[in-house]
Amino acid sequence: MNYLFNLRAAVIANRITLGVFFFFSGIANYLNFGIPNGFYQTVLTQKLQIIGPNIPPGWEGIGPLPALIAVPYGWLLPLAEIVLGALFALNYWVRWTGLLLILMTFSIVLAFGIIPAGSLVPNAAESFNKNILFMTLIWVCIAYEAHEQKMSRRRTRAIEESNLMTSNHDM
């Protein structure tokens, strides 16, 4: 039972879930790359929603992205999802992989809008872009890693200071 209330275990479970999600999301995007209304076509033709459809008037429908940005973005995003997702799940350089995943997720939020249904109280539609939750959860993982590193540095410093103060006569 203690394990369920363990902060470290919770953060690890959260990190692995997010990493695996991005990993398979990248694979899925490559698999459905060229099909009609598939990933690549969406990237090339999608107009940026930013906030969401119809809110506020005049903001919707910006774009689509110029090909100079959209083509490399379309090709590299699934690759980035696979590599960064794997690294994030396996706990490698969480601070940097997490930061890149947040930026990537933010770009998706910009594309599909913060309130995709156009209202915070829609009927049977997604009221709030779930990618925002991903961003905050990744932030939790990054912050936890930074905290652990800080504690590790403190321990090392304590050992060093202790050794400096230790005299030989107490042997």
Binding site: L31, I82, L90, N91, E148, S152, M171
Partner: protein
Amino acid sequence: MQPTSKATSQAISQANDPSADHPTIVVGGGFVGLFTALHLSHQNYSHPILLIEQNDRFSFKPLLYELLSHELHSEQVYPRYQDLLAGSRVKFVQDTVTTIDLHQKQITVASGQQYDYGNLVLALGSKTTYFHTPGADRHTFPLTNGAEAIALRRHLRTRLHEALQLKTCAERRALLTVAIVGAGPAGIELACTLADLLPIWYDELGGDSHEIRIVLVNRSRELLKGDINSQLRCTVQRALKQRQVEFLFDAAVSEIQSDRLHYQQHKQDHTLNAGTIVWTAGTSPNSLLMTLPIAAENRDPRGRLIVTPMLQLPEFPEVFAAGDCAITPSNPQPPTAQVAYQQGQAIAQNLKLQTEGKALLPVQVYLRGTLMKLGLNEGVANLFNKVQIKGQPGHLMRQATYLRLLPTPAHNARITTEWLTDELLQRHRPFTPMQLGQTPFLQGMAAIAASLILASPLAWRAAQPQQFQQSLHWSGIPTLLDQWVTAKR
């Protein structure tokens, strides 16, 4: 190198010997003994093979530190002989050899059983020697086999728990002091491992890790004096210093009590309070060797048996000896696992040649360098005494090299796969790289490489679907992916 005519005549006389129907007995289940028995079994040796060993488990000595720290578990580096020898032609007898009658070609074990042999392999190894230091045998922990490594781990964990109950810092520091007597490779590897490990364990229990002290006690001023690893002295010193391991040089240990160590330094008596005292200061050949009817000129000053280049006893050519209990004066070898492994292989080959009445071959040992563990996830590999690979790459190289030497291909493949997946996925680890202040650089690079390898065909399929279909049609992968995508839709 050509075999001698003496060896040829010995081999022929051996082939005509009626006692050749008797089994070949291997005494001692260390590296030499076990590998001799296994190689004999693999090469369809015609005689029965008997391995007599007092322990029920094989201790993979170079990786005992990993057993202590839980980096590797018992089944990996402390397996049962019964499991290792399953499916082979080797019969295992767990017993202690009490007498060896070289003239009658007979062995007696503690249970009273007697065995006649046609050929004998003496692989008795060595035992810890305490140089008559009072209290050393009772109050110190040796580290020469798996059972001792596990006992030391339990003792250290108990000491950490006991220290948490104490109120004053001075009392805790005394209990948390680990004195390691002997600054040879074993002492240094243990000091580095414990200096990394104990703070992590104590920290997890809620203690102040800075209260832990590791003290290396050595009779001389030099680390690794006269050892094959002496070229690594600078690297070793840096690793010890980095871990704040304290040195007590020129210290001659005079007496050991349960919680303290008395020593003389610069003609003055001192005492070091220590909750744990580990003895790695020396070894001596097995006492059974002294009872053998071998002439003094066929022994070295330490009592080890002098053997021919074919690893036979000069007076008893049917008896082979190698490892820590024997020495070839013309070509002395360091007491390392890689030497013992090659000697075991060579003895098996010569026994087979002897049975076939062919001339025996002198043993050629190839030293490819040395390896040392310098803490958790850190090591040094000295390749051909020219290139030093340090840090995590050194650790990986050391671990991979030793795991390659594990007995039996099935055990070897299983354990190596387990270790590789554990390393890459960072699972079953008793500590995290963060606790050690390390970056898992190699594993991270491996994860990136694996991700790129996985992503490449997918990107190829997205960019050139026709070409991808045609090129990989034979593998069935395009069909599989198409079905998957269709199923998802």
